[in-house]
């Protein structure tokens, strides 16, 4: 799979599989089984980037899956790219070293590829960011960033660590929310955008959108594939979440076509700043 290069030279897969799959009602054993199957399937098909978070309560599940895959020789550690995040509850404890050690232990890893603050939690994120920078320098993580950051947060971070801005920001980003000012700032500062809810969770208005459907027909692809390709082609890294093999393939089989510049513009023009996840609900004071 195609890779992108972060500002510090670290290579990152151009598509990431999210693991925030709401299956907590099922048994733990079944979840491990399903996750293991889906991750193995993804790896077999060339997808090697995975995203989790302490708040998804599945770091330990993924740890078991990854260690099993590595032990069985299905993949080498250096070939997979693992992202995890520090949640708000952990940020309030103000001890990032403790948090990275907990994540490493749960994930059964020696290092994390990308470590993010899950939210720019008011009154906490600046100090915690400073700690992230120190931990990055120690080598326990290969790249750092912040999820759900906006321009104002990047500007605040720049004031305290002007030499070490986030390598990645993970935000809700899709054709219906293209945050032009944020994109411009990230381009200027060489910060890579990673897009969650990359297909706007396929809400009815997305599935039924005329432009996307016309383009899907034109290129002989699905609406999802048009959106994933749109992301990859502009250099943002889309995250999709599914344990379904058919959906996994749909999301990653997008490297055999190109969207024309004019069609890319048509998709950009769909922007209406639609946030599926209203950020302040997850982070009061956001």
């Amino acid at each position: 799979m195609q890779k992108v290069v972060l500002r510090n030279g670290v290579e990152m897969p151009s598509i990431i599989m999210g693991t925030s799959v709401d299956d907590r009602k099922g048994s733990r054993k079944k979840l491990i089984g399903k996750m293991s199957e889906a991750v193995s399937f993804a790896v077999q098909n060339g997808l090697v980037g995975f995203d989790t978070s302490r708040d998804y309560s599945n770091e330990d599940v993924l740890g078991k899956v990854f260690s099993s895959l590595i032990r069985s020789g299905s993949i080498k550690r250096e070939d997979i790219f693992i992202t995890t995040k520090v949640g708000n509850g952990q940020q309030r404890e103000k001890n990032m070293l403790k948090q990275i050690d907990m994540s490493l232990k749960a994930l059964k890893l020696d290092y994390i590829d990308l470590w993010l603050l899950h939210w720019p939690l008011p009154d906490y994120y600046i100090d915690n960011w400073k700690q992230l920078c120190e931990i990055y320098k120690s080598g326990k993580v290969r790249a750092i960033g912040i999820a759900n950051a906006r321009e104002r947060h990047i500007k605040e971070i720049k004031k305290i660590t002007p030499d070490l801005l986030p390598h990645v920001v993970q935000i809700e980003y899709h054709p219906f929310r293209t945050v032009p000012a944020m994109r411009e700032l990230c381009t200027e500062k060489n910060i890579r955008i990673e897009a969650y809810s990359a297909n706007c969770v396929m809400l009815p208005f997305v599935k039924e959108n005329d432009v996307l459907n016309i383009l899907a027909e034109k290129y002989g692809k699905t609406v999802t594939q048009i959106m994933m390709r749109w992301h990859v082609q502009q250099g943002t890294i889309p995250i999709f979440s599914s344990l379904n093999q058919k959906h996994i393939l749909e999301n990653i089989n997008i490297f055999d076509f190109n969207i024309d510049d004019d069609d890319m513009k048509l998709i950009f023009a769909l922007n209406r700043d639609y946030k599926f996840h209203p950020e302040s609900l997850n982070c009061p004071g956001y």
Partner: protein, 352 residues
Amino acid sequence: MKRKLKIIGLFCLAVDIVLFFVSKILFIIATVLILLAAIGGEALLVLNALYKRTNHWKNQFLFEKNFISGRGYRDNLTRNLDIVNLGSNPAKYGLFYENVRGQNWATGSQGLEMDFEILKYFHSYLKEGGIVLIPIMPFTAISQYIKTKKGYWDDSYYIRFAKILDPSQTRQLPNGSKLLRKVKYPLIFDPLLIRYLFADVPTDNSLEITEQTMSAVEIEHDADRWIEGWKKEFDAAAVIDFVIDGKYIPYREESVSVLRQIVEYCKERNLKPILLTIPMSEYLAKKFNADFRQKMVYDFVEELNIDGVMFLDYMFDSRFDNPSLYNGSFFLNLKGRKLFSSQLMKDLGLLI
């Protein structure tokens, strides 16, 4: 709570098992007691659930439908609101959004701090550049004084916010952790509430009233009642005290500070804060003389000294002072609410 109950249950079971081997009589007594406690506990939970279906409980939280929380946003896809308002009862009864994407975020009695907490939690529902109406009413300037009054902002005041805010915010409120439990188990905290299972109160339909339900004499009396209530609330002997008494100065400064923070918060997030006064009936308006109006409203807005923030003043606007637009002397009825809100939306350019 459920976890604690489980732990207690397991503990009782363990004790019972031990007693089985120690003494048969003690075992039987303990088993009966445990069973009675379990049945009693379960019955209390059932009664608690039944109480939460009464109007007495639900009336306190009728505003909840205006707030889509973290639990509801996946099903309710409303986003990009054009306009919302904060504020207390005058805003609750004064603003009605028709043909615009708006939400009334006034829950009833609602101080400036709670305005701010609500804004902090729900603002992402607004579109970029969306309008946040910040009501300034006759006593907003000194509203922080209420903090000094025991029993005004108690659990019954804060519990409404505990129902809609994030738990992390509620924990910061006075008795915050207790409030979170109280929202879940009100009957356990106040067993006397059980009476509403047998004699419930009617559904609160005060927002649906379309006409003035009082006679002229009653409205006059209602206006006097409001004034007396405020005098008592703020420990003032006469209305003139609000203008001349120095004891309010620190509270006024506090109100200025909180309002400035709210405005700044909006600006940082590319929202458009607008200061707004809401009309009142002529009966009540005449109780506030020119000095009061100047000092408590207009000077206060000046003190806020916020560059570029629009101030829309309808408080003593003769277009909206007709008593037929109100229910009582202070709160607009549905007809008045629609009339005023429609004019406001036109003045804001949201309606043609």
